[in-house]
């Protein structure tokens, strides 16, 4: 078994989710169903949605000093909206779960293997 990061990407800037919006509720229900499937399959390790990247802080430690900057590290329109860590038997199995994740989130999902030993 090997571990992979599946990250969900937003092309557009997203701020707060409007939980009362039926469209948001539909999407959340879809992702919930996917989460249940991935947990039942024993593939799920960890995962969750992230607050918008306007909530991020970048820290840099150098020469015993730590500096902090408000905002995300990468100044790009695209931002990571959430992620899963999965444990899959091989690339094809991981790709299959990532394809389902993309369908559930209705957005692009990046699959990337963890370093091993």
């Amino acid at each position: 078994m090997a571990q992979y990061l599946m990250s969900v990407w937003h092309d557009e800037v997203y701020e707060d989710n409007d939980f009362d919006d039926p469209e948001t509720q539909r999407l959340f229900a879809q992702v919930d169903a996917y989460n249940k499937a991935i947990e039942t399959a024993g593939v799920w390790v960890f995962g969750g949605g992230l607050q918008p990247n306007t909530t991020a802080t970048v820290l840099r430690a150098a020469d015993g000093q730590v500096s902090m900057t408000d905002g995300p590290y990468a100044e790009s329109k695209e931002q990571m909206g959430g992620f899963w860590v999965i444990d899959a038997p091989d690339l094809d199995a991981a790709l299959d779960w990532a394809a389902k994740a993309s369908a559930a989130c209705e957005g692009p999902v990046e699959l990337r293997p963890f370093q091993t030993g």
Binding site: A2, Y4, P89, D90, L91, D92, A94, L95, P113, Q115, T116, G117
Partner: protein, 435 residues
């Protein structure tokens, strides 16, 4: 294959090269399964071929050269792994690539339902055949870019070195080398399995393999740049890979269709270029220079795959090539049949390029005005920078008597051409319109 007995006549460099070409893919494929690592397998096979090049001229060729290379490569690799204990870690880490197949019966999926006695007998041959398929699916993994798939396929299954691949694609050698290194690393770090995809995934995955072979062929057939119109090596290599695939998956009509299409297209190779190296259009080719043997084989394959009644884009394109091959002169071409086939192709796989080819056929069947009408139904935005669109448009305009429009279209086509012999062809046609 001539298998010299041990102690038989000394063999020359040509014979060695021939064995190399036909065995290297098979041997590499099997060694990857045994060793679980692409680099180790490549090194081992290269070493075994070096040993063969030294010994066979003295001892004669063994009865089964492929098995000899495979066994020698395996033994050398195991010796080396034992010697270099530092590499053991890498071996263990890389083991992942193969372990799905190493722990299971490697033939369990591939030939369930076979006569068990026959299974016993051809066990070895089957495993090796499966290995080559595994390697095709690994090299053409959809997680790799088409460029990487093609480079890896030529390197591992074709045994071409990076210099040869770089030369064939007119790309700097370091670019190809890096492409191959990255592709191998991606497969390894992503824990890609060495297996034949299960039935549910097979149509999609086979489609990727066919597309890669087709890309190799097309690149060989019409070089995008470089001095000569066609580069023989890539076309021949693509046909060889197509044959291997058909041998391994005889029940896949699209694989047969692709092989037929390549054979029928390649049959026209000698007639495609004039002595000065410029391109000769299909209608002006010397049809006696077409390779009849390849046409006959292509025809047989087209008939065989169409009988299965599971049509696909490659089969239909092969059928179109077969209709062209049937015509003894260009005037005798059954354009009606070709338009019907393009309609079928459009239904299966609508694309602007298919629409363009259909417009050419309509122009031949019903005249330039009908051709221009057919051309007008295509979304031009998709073809704005596609040289053949402007070349076809120019030709139809010229034939319809619209000279100044034709000249403008020729200028667009010429500006988009990087192939010198295609450029020469277009330039030669353009001045006619000014006269």
């Amino acid at each position: 294959m001539t298998a010299g007995a041990p102690g038989g006549a000394a063999i020359g460099a040509d014979e060695l090269a021939r064995v190399f070409t036909c065995e290297i893919g098979r041997c590499t494929a099997t060694l990857i399964r045994i060793l679980g690592d692409i680099d180790l397998a490549q090194d081992a096979v290269a070493e075994a071929f070096a040993v063969a090049a030294e010994r066979w001229p003295v001892t004669g060729m063994p009865a089964n050269p492929g098995a000899w290379i495979t066994t020698t490569a395996r033994n050398r690799a195991f010796d080396r792994l034992r010697r270099e204990s530092t590499r053991t870690n890498r071996y263990v880490a890389a083991y992942r690539l193969a372990d799905t197949e190493m722990t299971d019966d490697p033939r369990s999926d591939a030939d369930a339902g076979r006569d068990p006695e026959a299974r016993e007998l051809d066990q070895l041959a089957d495993v090796i055949a499966d290995d080559q398929l595994r390697l095709m699916f690994l090299c053409c993994h959809p997680a790799l870019s088409p460029d990487a798939q093609v480079a890896l396929t030529l390197r591992l299954l074709g045994g071409l070195d990076t210099t040869q691949i770089a030369h064939a694609f007119v790309v700097p050698e370091p670019t190809i080398a890096q492409r191959i290194v990255r592709a191998k690393r991606k497969l390894r770090d992503n824990h890609a399995s060495y297996r034949i995809p299960p039935a549910a995934e097979l149509p999609d995955r086979l489609g990727v393999v066919l597309a890669a072979i087709s890309l190799i062929f097309t690149e060989g057939h019409t070089a995008t740049s470089g001095p000569r119109l066609s580069r023989v090596d890539l076309s021949t290599e693509a046909i060889r890979l197509g044959r291997v695939l058909v041998e391994l998956m005889p029940d896949e009509p699209e694989a047969v269709g692709l092989l037929a299409l390549m054979l029928l297209t390649d049959a026209r190779r000698d007639a495609r270029t004039a002595p000065d190296g410029s391109m000769v259009r299909l209608s002006e080719q010397d049809r006696t220079a077409w390779n009849r043997e390849q046409i006959v084989e292509g025809h047989d394959l087209v008939r065989a795959c169409l009988r299965r009644n599971r049509p696909g884009p490659f089969q239909i394109q092969a059928a179109i090539a077969a209709v062209h091959a049937d015509a003894i002169t260009a005037e005798q071409t059954d354009w009606h049949q070709i338009v019907v086939l393009y309609d079928q192709l459009t239904a299966l796989q609508p694309s602007a390029v298919v629409g363009l080819n259909r417009a050419v056929a309509v122009g031949e069947q019903l005249g330039p005005d009908a051709g221009l009408q057919a051309l007008a139904t295509i979304d031009v935005d998709d073809l704005a920078t596609y040289q053949p669109y402007h070349a076809v448009h120019a030709d139809l305009l010229a034939r319809a008597g619209r000279r100044s429009d034709a000249v403008a279209a020729y200028d667009r086509a010429i500006a988009l051409t990087s192939n010198p012999s295609e450029r020469a062809f277009l330039v030669a046609r353009r001045p006619e319109q000014l006269a």
